[in-house]
């Protein structure tokens, strides 16, 4: 008799014979044997399989219902003129403070574009293209850096303030600027073109959950799709900045701590951090100003010299 566990012998014995009462064929090799049960396969746990399917279906229904009913709540959709004190703080950052921060908390700076893309121009000037969304918390953080950096090359007019998404786990109600709603920028060195693809107004019918806002041109869509997809992602993401086809910013510049580092503060408080170089918000925003300045200097041919000829900018230009 072959060696066999007691459990298996018991099981085999409990299995019984074929339904016609006659024993089935057996092998003589001494190993365990199989015998087909009387009339084809039977005993499949259809009830169990149906129960599993039912549990999964109920779970999906419940989860989808929770998702659909837990839409954005308490979203601040106001668009207000930026207070003069906030504008002054972010558009006139002392070079000494920027040098103290250096690279700050930036762990994802602009990178050289390695694929062939059009070198954007606008009205005869090299173009810096920004694509974002008003609800997006990562965009909310980046806009502070962009306003600070671009102010070194030109002037913003009619700056407006908004709050980002009230529910995004990446950062809620982040106090920030918007580049839409009549905001303009002028510079002798470059053109700054902005597209806020979605607003911060909840819209359940929109794939992002927020109302579509400014559409991309065909060329902008092509660039966004080609250059703006982070590794491991299934499509482009914002914030996205194309520095004249030379380098690009994809996603947030800082994830340490990222937008949550600005959570809970208003615009005046964040502006106040800009004079405190050791603070976490300053390290994120001013570190970004430095890297963005370096990327813009590459675009403008290192003009103006007062901004681009510093040792910090020259050092950072090597990496962007």
């Amino acid at each position: 008799m072959s060696k066999k566990s007691m459990a298996e012998r018991r099981q085999a014995a409990a299995g019984g014979g074929p339904r016609n009462g006659r024993p089935g064929p057996k092998s003589n090799r001494g190993g365990a044997q199989y015998r087909r049960s009387g009339k084809g396969s039977s005993g499949r746990p259809w009830g169990l399989i149906a129960a599993i399917g039912g549990v999964v279906a109920v779970f999906l229904v419940v989860i989808i219902a929770l998702e659909l009913t837990s839409g954005p709540a308490g979203q601040d959709t106001q668009v207000l003129s930026a207070p003069a004190s906030v504008v002054a703080a972010v558009t006139h950052i002392p070079t000494k403070t920027l040098d103290q921060v250096g690279t700050g908390a930036i762990n994802n700076p602009p990178q050289p574009i390695k694929v062939s893309t059009p070198k954007l121009t606008h009205n005869g000037k090299p173009e810096m293209l920004y694509i974002g969304a008003e609800y997006c918390p990562y965009c909310a953080l980046l806009r502070w850096s962009l306003v600070g950096a671009l102010s070194r090359f030109g002037k913003f007019s009619n700056l407006k303030i908004i709050r980002g998404s009230a529910t995004d786990p990446a950062g809620q109600n982040i106090a920030t600027f918007t580049f839409a709603h009549g905001v303009s920028y002028s510079s002798p060195y470059l053109a700054f073109v902005t597209r806020e693809m979605y607003s911060n107004v909840p819209d359940a019918k929109s794939p992002s959950g927020y109302a579509p806002f400014q559409a991309l041109s065909k060329q902008e869509s092509q660039i966004f799709g080609t250059v703006g997809t982070p590794p491991g992602a299934s499509g482009p993401g914002f914030p996205f900045v194309d520095y004249g086809g030379l380098s690009a910013q994809i996603g947030t510049e800082s994830s340490t701590p990222g937008p949550t580092g600005l959570q809970g503060y208003d615009w005046q408080q964040i502006a106040g951090f800009l004079s405190k170089p050791s603070s976490a918000p300053a390290k994120m925003i001013l570190g970004g100003v430095n890297y963005d300045t370096a990327a813009i200097c590459q675009l403008t041919g290192n003009k103006p010299g007062a901004v681009c000829d510093t040792s910090l900018v020259k050092q950072l230009e090597k990496t962007t």
Partner: protein, 168 residues
């Protein structure tokens, strides 16, 4: 005693089982290998310092999911995909064992139990994706489907149609 003639339904337990049992175990191996591959890819994406960005396409946003606070085992810095890799390795081991020992119903039961554990984890992860993060990751969804298929297959194989007799 001479072996029975043609048309016999005899199977030697030392050999891989007949068509039905072998195919099921092989299918489980395929699911396990595929799941291990996807979980490994997600683990590398987690460590690759993927830029954090908001997806322009809305609901599907892999980078947001794999870099969220829920992408690590609670209380640790270990990516949640690492236990996923372990899940599929164990599943593969159980599938191979069932292929080699098709008469062992305890292996089938163990694999079913392991798959139920996987389903409970899938429930948690899907809840987090949709209700907390409000985004899904296509690759994570692929892993969830593979676990679900493993569960259905192991449930199907709980009661094999062949019966085991002791040798005389």
């Amino acid at each position: 005693m001479a072996p029975a003639g043609g048309g016999s339904e005899q199977v030697n337990s030392d050999e891989p089982t007949g068509r039905l049992g072998g195919a099921g175990a092989i299918w489980l191996m395929v699911l396990s290998v595929a799941g291990f591959g996807v979980a490994t890819y997600l683990t590398t994406v987690h460590y690759a310092n993927v830029p954090l960005a908001c997806s322009a396409s809305g609901l599907v946003d892999c980078s947001k999911v794999v870099t969220s606070q829920y992408s690590v085992v609670p209380g640790t810095n270990v990516p949640i995909t690492v236990p996923g890799m372990a899940f599929f390795l164990v599943s593969l081991g159980l599938a191979i064992a069932q292929y080699l020992r098709p008469q062992r119903t305890d292996l089938r039961q163990a694999h079913f139990g392991w798959s139920v554990l996987g389903l409970l984890t899938v429930f948690y992860l899907v809840y987090v994706e949709l209700v907390e993060i409000h985004h899904i990751c296509i690759w994570c969804t692929a892993v969830h489907i593979l676990i679900l298929l493993t569960l259905f297959t192991t449930a199907w194989r709980l009661h094999p149609s062949d019966e085991l007799l002791t040798s005389s």
